[in-house]
Amino acid sequence: MNAIVCEPAVATNAGCAARVASYHCEVMEHRWVNARYKYLRLHAQAPLARITRCGQFYQLRCPVSERQQPFLLRPMSVYGTGPEEGTIEFLYNVTGVGTRALAELPVGGTMEIVGPLGNTFGFDPAYQRILVVARGVGLATMAPLVREAGNNGVAVTALMSARSPADLMREEFLRGVEAQVHSVYDSDGSSAVERIEILLRELIETQALQAVYTCGSHRLLMLLQRVLADYPGIRGEVAMEQRMACGMGVCLSCVRLFDCGKEKGGKQDMQFLRVCREGPVFPISTVVGEVEFG
């Protein structure tokens, strides 16, 4: 279930043995990590740590209250799992109806989550060094990748972008893994695209990177697409977002257009793919940089 995009849907799913279920969880820990993000640790009577892979997500059934009545489930990347088999973690931005309702869930309370869903990052334990480019909530999605790199002795370079140092969440991202961190901020202008491009090219030229991963910023994604075009040997992957209903590939609400390269006839092969199913992880090169559709 790696991010190998543009296979026909049928082949992708054929013989798929993964089981998706609704898990009843208890809230073990739930706290603010800064003014906008909350950390949530759940426990289920099921081996979530074992069945969940790096880059996958769950759909959360946010609680219903007098003031907030979310109807659809909310997709959330897995921020971490374990050490107990039944433990799963999320890190989320409190923004709208569902996440505001979620934020009110007390420790000891319960909630349902549906998953695991989606494909995984393409990661090879034999890599020497990877680069992760994160902004905002993107770090929740890539945190398991950082951990996996750490576990496998793969060196990590992290380029972290944030509004200001208070928003960075460096510790939350690395969770103890050693990494070379480059932080850039809107507040001092260091996050400007031109300046990041210089930094990026320098990192790529000087470090023996096998793969670059990103999540959380369209601007950074487009920059990476442009830069990586010059380095076809480097694996580049992005975790995407889109409005979802089913989260399982059924409803076709979460499509985006991807450019799957030249067909035999020489024509560009453009495909609508489901972020929840063929994604959320896609090769950076395939992303079509439209911004005008929601």
């Binding site: 054929a14 998706v20 609400s253």
Partner: protein, 325 residues
């Protein structure tokens, strides 16, 4: 011959939809189900498998965002993305027919002729029935569709009837003013069943951005919010026609399914509820079983249309009320 996936208990959950016998009345609603749900459900335990509507013409579907939530429901404007019938037969259909459960193909088309030709093309031995989605809000026409009126319904269904021997189910729209008349037209044109109903055309606006919440501006409302509307229409159809009525709209629990059966449904379709819990259809089947056991019902299908109406009630009330000044 006994169905080996039939529930082994004492209660008989089987229902009849025309000549088709289903092991239980619970099937997915078109567009709210695809083969991926085999990861969450045993497809051999459902009453039938209804596939997402396919249109003969290739279509991209509608602009994103395609879904938005509302109070007790959701709006969608997926459209009917389609790669055509050939792709459908070669790549979409086969995994569904691998199960021991009747497969229903849903067809969507722009003209009566296109409908007829498409239905003919999917009248395959491995297909148990064809659902004609004559109800999907045709948004170019401000929500109009064949099933908005008896005449257009009759035209579409009779064209289809001439081209296939397969059971044909006409899927009606709750946006019509008089669904009983539309159901009657479908029956007269030769439909084997009506499915009542589809989504109700709706809209939502983000008051901060002032933009519609759907890329397509309007979309179909589904989920518990519309249940009382769908239920009323099932009851009206049941009173109007002799062919079976399949209920659809907001069903999320066994109680909901029972309510539809009492109102006149022979079977039910579950749509949006699966998005909230992909295992919900099995829970509904289990709940029907439990209800029948509790209430001592041997054959679930006896509940169809069994709502207890007191036809003299209003008269008695009026006589009673006449006493008042």
């Amino acid at each position: 011959m006994a169905d080996r996936y039939e529930d082994p208990q004492r209660v008989d959950l089987r229902v009849h939809v025309g000549d088709l016998i289903l092991r239980n009345p619970v099937m997915p609603a078109s567009g709210c189900f695809a083969i991926e749900y085999r990861e969450a459900l045993d497809l051999n335990r459902l009453g039938a498998l209804v596939i997402k509507s396919v249109s003969p013409k290739s279509r991209a579907g509608n602009p994103t965002p395609r879904v938005a939530e509302t109070h007790g429901g959701m709006l969608n404007s997926i459209g009917i993305p389609s790669k055509g019938l050939e792709y459908f037969r070669a790549s979409v259909l086969p995994p569904y027919t691998a199960y021991d459960t009747p497969v229903v193909v849903s067809i969507s088309a722009d003209t009566a002729e296109e409908f007829a030709a498409a239905c003919a093309e999917v009248s395959l031995p491995e297909v148990a029935a064809i659902e004609a989605n004559i109800s999907c809000p045709n948004l170019e026409a401000d929500g109009m569709a064949f099933a908005m009126a008896p005449e257009t319904t009759y035209r579409a269904i009779s064209a289809i009837r001439r081209c296939t021997q397969h059971p044909v189910w006409a899927k009606l729209t709750p946006n019509a003013a008089n669904v009983a008349a539309v159901a009657k037209a479908a029956e007269e044109a030769g439909a084997d069943a009506v499915v009542m109903g589809n989504t109700v055309l709706g809209m939502a606006i983000d008051v901060r951005t002032r933009k519609p919440k759907l890329g397509n501006v309007m979309g179909g409302l589904s989920g518990p919010a519309i249940k009382p509307i769908a239920l009323r229409m099932v009851h009206q159809c049941h009173r109007a026609v002799r062919i079976p009525v399949i209920g659809c709209g907001g069903i999320a629990t066994a109680e909901d399914a029972l309510e539809f059966m009492l109102a006149g449904a022979s079977a039910v379709q579950v749509g949006t509820a699966s998005f909230i819990d992909p295992g919900v259809m099995q829970k509904i089947i289990d709940g029907l079983q439990a209800y029948c056991e509790q209430e001592g019902i041997a054959h679930l299908r006896e509940l169809t249309g069994a709502v207890q109406l007191d036809r003299q009630l209003t008269d008695r009330w009026l006589r009673f009320a006449q006493q008042s000044g």
